[in-house]
Amino acid sequence: MYVGFILLLPISVSRNYVLLIAAFTGFVIDIFYNSLGTHMAATILMAFIRPLWINAITPRGGYENIESPTAKDLGLAWFLAYSLPLVFIHLCLVFFIEAGGFHMFFFVIFKAITSTFLTVFVLIIIQYLFYSKGRFS
């Protein structure tokens, strides 16, 4: 769920800062989960891929006046295309590091897929509940 914090960071924030923010977020999560390094590694990877992925799915000409990649600003379909792969990569890395190898490959992939759908679902609900339209203007 906390990956939403990284996903919804404004696009204008520089890549280096996003990486550092992601590292710190993952580290704090790891302290509470007793899994030092696991969530940190996954969140950093996701923060690194994020700008590349945004560029890949941005239509030519870019966006006008978009600060944050939210479902409300850019549409539900765009947000799904944006968040599903990123969250899936993140969760795959978390679960594979936790499992300590590839010996439970299909179980881990299954777990990652179901968790991805749940996470993205909750992220969308949170956006419609708490993000007012004029908030970032």
Binding site: R15, N16, L19, L20, A23, G26, D30, I31, F32, Y33, N34, S35, L36, G37, T38, M40, A41, I44, L45, F48, F95, I97, E98, A99, G100, M104, F107
Partner: protein, 277 residues
Amino acid sequence: MRRLFQFIYQYRAFFLFLVLELVSGWLVVNHNNYISASYFNSSSAIAGNVYDSRQNIQDYFQLKQVNQNLADENEQLRNQLALKQPMLDTSQFKTPVYLSGQYDYTMAKVVNNSVSRFRNYFTLNKGRNDGIEEGMGVVNSLGLVGKIKSVSNNFSTGYSALHVNLLVSALIDETQTLCTATWDGTDPTKMKLKYVPRHVQVKKEMDVVTSGFNSIFPEGVKIGEVDTVFIQKNATFYDITLKVAVDFQSLDYVYVIGNKLKQEKDSLEQSIEVLND
């Protein structure tokens, strides 16, 4: 040299990414070696207090269930006491070691627990100030819960029995077969029993308990019941699934077991190993 720096500066995001990933990879690999470093896990003061206050709120919704469990346990203990009474009167009776205080029990409350990950941990609201140390066993009234991993002054973190790397020395109660119980990372109500040789007659619903060989748990703490038994044609050992005795999804109060004779036993066993060399 200048071009090198230019190159690094140009791709600084990628290099920062590499450095951070290396740091976190190093943390993952080395995390389990720093058993006593309790600053960066949930037994640290900040994380412990957060979990503690969250648990305080949740407690109100579990009061009925906790009361019921405690009443059941009281009844069980009273029944045991009633059985022991006549034995205590005889002058020949020797107090068994586990009654004369080899083990002491400290009650603690579970303030955080998980079952959905591959490596599950729990956090207890008691720590070094209450006499809890690394490596102690944790049980509740139903059976085996786990083992303490690291301790701070007021909190402690433990490996749940649902941790893929935790192996528990076990005994099939009826046949007295020594084996190993472990978790495969899938179903939180099931564990696996390993190294049961094929000549043993294993049946469904046999009790599996701790062996007491590793001086963490006393002998006879229940782990679970045999659920499914399967053996391949040419295999040496059975594939056995256990139904876990403890309901890990609703842990509330647990006992941390201290073994006063652990040091004595370990040093004795070590001296034998030296003699064998």
